[in-house]
């Protein structure tokens, strides 16, 4: 995988995360579940920021950033707050693994960015209830 391919893959994953967190937020009541709603809102903003930064990184290499899809398959039911957190955990674990790949396939400034992104997604995993791992992003 070339560095650009790895960046495009990470960008595609962030497009998906932005879409899915928007959907998860829409499933929740801000007044009835304020802590979870706030957490989802912060996470949504984080992924939107990462998506925008990845778009810049890809474009800086002379490539056209991959576009978002129209829709994404939700990795699980979202009828309850517990189910929503489960889906969020799945999203974050996938994102963490994607950033692991990005680290492996980049160097320099791109890798530095990916390391920071991996750190952030590994922390979000824990915030959504994933047990800390000895090797986040590898498994």
């Amino acid at each position: 995988m070339t560095p650009v391919q790895a960046l495009q893959k990470a960008l595609a994953a962030e497009h998906a995360a932005v879409h899915l967190y928007g959907l998860l937020g829409a499933q929740l009541s801000k007044s009835r579940q304020p802590p979870l709603f706030a957490k989802l809102s912060r996470t949504y903003e984080a992924h939107r920021g990462a998506r925008d930064q990845l778009t810049v990184l890809v474009a800086a290499k002379g490539s056209d950033p991959v576009a978002a899809k129209v829709d994404y398959e939700v990795p699980g039911p979202t009828s309850t707050a517990t189910q929503i957190e489960t889906v969020a955990r799945t999203i974050e674990q996938r994102i963490t693994r994607t950033y692991g790949e990005l680290i492996a396939n980049t160097a320099g400034g791109d890798r530095r960015w990916a390391i920071t992104a991996l750190d952030a997604s590994a922390l979000r995993e824990v915030a959504f209830g994933v047990a800390p791992s000895h090797f986040p992003g590898l498994g």
Binding site: M1, K9, A13, T116, L118, P132, S133
Partner: protein, 185 residues
Amino acid sequence: MVDFPAPAAPVVGAVSSRVGLSRRSLLTAGAAGMAGLVGSGCTANNPVSDDKTPKTPAKLSPDVAVATRALAEIRTVRLAVAGTASRFPATRSQLTPLVQMHEAHEASLADAVPNQAGVPGSSAGPTPYAVPRTRDAALGKLAVRERKLHDTLDGLALRAQSGDFARLLASMGAAVNQRLAGVQS
């Protein structure tokens, strides 16, 4: 409707096209690959090097140097955690997961580091760690040590020439970060 883009299997050397590689296989391949560098004088991810000059065994590849530094830092912090848990037994349940994490990280690096010279706890004996007198101060000092270890591992991940080794080191740093978040919350 499309699936969330699934991460591919970790890329490990010549088997990058294989799918379904487990974390264990990545670690094993990483450690074996690193161990293979020891004394060979090869540079990771540099298969086209035409330098035929014999290398002296003392000249380690850059990634072996990175692994040596990482192992030394991890061991130093693990000994600090163990010392703190020993001084304040009530913290053991809180600190045992940290010790286990550091042990797992050490195990993934141990084969890559030749004779482990200069690594605490190897030959000359570990440098004593001064545990502060109060529990809060001791945990605070540990948190600083863990934070520094996280930063060091991230820095080493940036320096590593092998992409897979960089991924391993960054994962270790992220693991430290996850544990820190638990300790501080």
